[in-house]
Symmetry: C2
Subunit: 348 residues, 2 copies
């Protein structure tokens, strides 16, 4: 055995950068010549610490390369500064836009967002929620308003604010920010009629909200005498490929022209490509209306007519509501309808 080791670990304060093992508050405190709690305050409540002291602490932190441990901090303060967001799929831009705004806003407010990808089956929402509650988030965003009783129970007994999104319900768990799928369906039907189509087709993803819209459109259409309706259902997640596939299904089932309502812009883009490849005139022979007004919708050729949802507003309202709840401020309303708008472009 070598005797050349030092017996004690010496903490040399002179070299500007020196990281050995884990730097803790105590070490920083010792170097700054103050107590641990003062360092804690200098970081979290700087206004409670004298400028001189603050400066000493700042230097000690820089010298040691201290990075606070929020596992410990969260445990002690009973606030993790974490917000959970559960969405059906990260790989779906429609949700990504909402979430992107959501996390940026929260970051500015000193929170981090942890994402849960429920996958479309949604069977495992409960499992996901349980896993995420394990991190003791200070708030949680959910997509949709349908949750198993066990899941609701979990959420409720976590005693944290909950925002449900992308849908509306008269009885939210806590707060809901969304829009009315039935109303959308109705207005799309009226728009189809206004445009003079007397036949209709649907290319819808196998998703409860999409199906709600389709059903509503269908009913309104029938009520108005348009009964020549053909439907195609495709699995989630949506893609151009499935849009093309759905179109072929429609054609095989005898679709001979009319309006096609797609449950997403992505599907609509596929429908458009398939029709173009068959030289079917859009919108003369077949009209297309999408859903979402995604960034590309205005730039397809021809440009896509669609239903605009203000996805960023959903994110914004969700942040505001959650933040209000967290800071015990009153929320204006616990049911927020962000509405929608039919954007008339060239495909219908």
């Amino acid at each position: 055995m070598s005797f050349s080791n030092n017996e004690k670990k010496t903490i040399s304060t002179s070299p500007p950068e020196q990281v050995q093992g884990d730097v803790t508050l105590d070490i920083v405190a010792r170097i700054a010549g103050v107590s641990a709690i003062t360092v804690s305050r200098a970081i979290n409540k700087p206004e409670k610490v004298a400028p001189k002291t603050r400066e000493k602490v700042k230097q000690a932190i820089a010298r040691t390369g201290y990075v606070p441990n929020l596992l410990a901090g969260g445990l002690a303060s009973r606030s993790s500064k974490l917000i959970a967001a559960i969405i059906p799929s990260i790989a779906n831009l429609v949700y990504a836009e909402t979430i992107s705004l959501f996390s940026n806003r929260f970051r500015e407010a000193g929170y981090q967002v942890i994402l849960g990808d429920s996958g479309y089956p949604e069977v495992l929402e409960e499992e996901l929620v349980r896993a995420i509650l394990t991190r003791r988030p200070d708030g949680i965003l959910l997509t949709g308003v349908d949750h198993s009783p066990v899941c609701k129970n979990l959420l409720l007994s976590a005693h944290i604010p909950v925002v449900e999104t992308w849908d509306l319900t008269p009885s939210p768990l806590d707060i809901v920010v969304g829009f009315d799928h039935v109303k959308i369906g109705r207005q799309v039907a009226e728009f189809i009629i206004e445009k003079g189509y007397n036949k209709a087709g649907f290319v819808s993803a196998d998703d409860s909200r999409a199906l709600t819209r389709q059903r509503s459109t269908q009913e309104t259409l029938i009520k108005n005498g348009i009964t020549n309706i053909i439907t195609a259902s495709v699995p989630v997640p949506s893609s151009m490929e499935l849009g093309r596939l759905g179109t072929r299904q429609l054609l095989e089932k005898g679709f001979t022209g009319g309006a096609i309502f797609c449950s997403s812009d992505t599907l609509a883009q596929g429908v458009l490509a398939e029709l173009q490849s068959r030289n079917i005139a859009v919108p003369e022979k077949v009209g297309i209306i999408g859903f979402g007004d995604q960034v590309f919708a205005a730039f397809t050729h021809p440009a896509l007519t669609t239903v605009r949802i203000d996805r960023k507003r959903i994110g914004r309202e969700a942040v505001d509501a959650l933040l209000a709840r967290i800071t015990d401020q009153p929320v204006k309303s616990n049911i927020i309808d962000v509405g929608f708008e039919i954007i008339r472009r060239q495909t219908m």
Copy 2:
């Protein structure tokens, strides 16, 4: 003051669901008639607990609705079971696919992934890394190989495995999984030549990796006598709109036909739409080659020729490498090249 309150909080074990305040390990332990550590073991190392005891604990957990607190667990065990992933943008499908696979795999392994959205400026990578290290992740995924010295230091002194992705470097911080942008540029140039184009254009996002590819293609082209080259640069994030804009720029700068290499499929799709709206024949007059082989690329009309990157493989290799490091297993190699492939379809 009312005297009707009970003096002691009574924990009634009879009602199946009863959650008051926070249920802790101790409470579960008391109800199960064992010690706290046994409950902990029943959850984390069930094989170390007798089946009978395990069952008692399971029931106590169900009765109380206990949800473990991983802030405390992580602090005590010095393992957060968190993996951090830093990507330029959640709202970019190209990264989302890698990340989606990445998080699913990690979930199966008992880890959760926390996402950091660095935004394209990348100036704040350092700040982001610092914020994320605060959670004491067990591993971290980075996008790109360029990091500030301070950032590298932070990462290194965190003593956790690091995977850099989407690029290659001979000297990774720890592990790198990516591909060679210079080689891609070269092969695209050769492909353009093979296809017989004698003029070229570029629509590239203002992104270092995209620019590396462009430069490489350009050089190879020039070396082969193709000097009629026009370039258009668009900001990030890419979109169809910017693809159309870039095309207009090219045209204004005197582009009169030839091959266009786009830094992403999304841009390429915009280029295609713009050309179609001007009745310029693709690929006869203008050839288009994209980058990424995103899901829609095969389904545009005409179908998009592009460079395929196996994004899922990047995710897979990143998980494998990280997991190996975490469990102290050897990694096959700390530099993993996932390669690429030119996919010949209709636009070029």
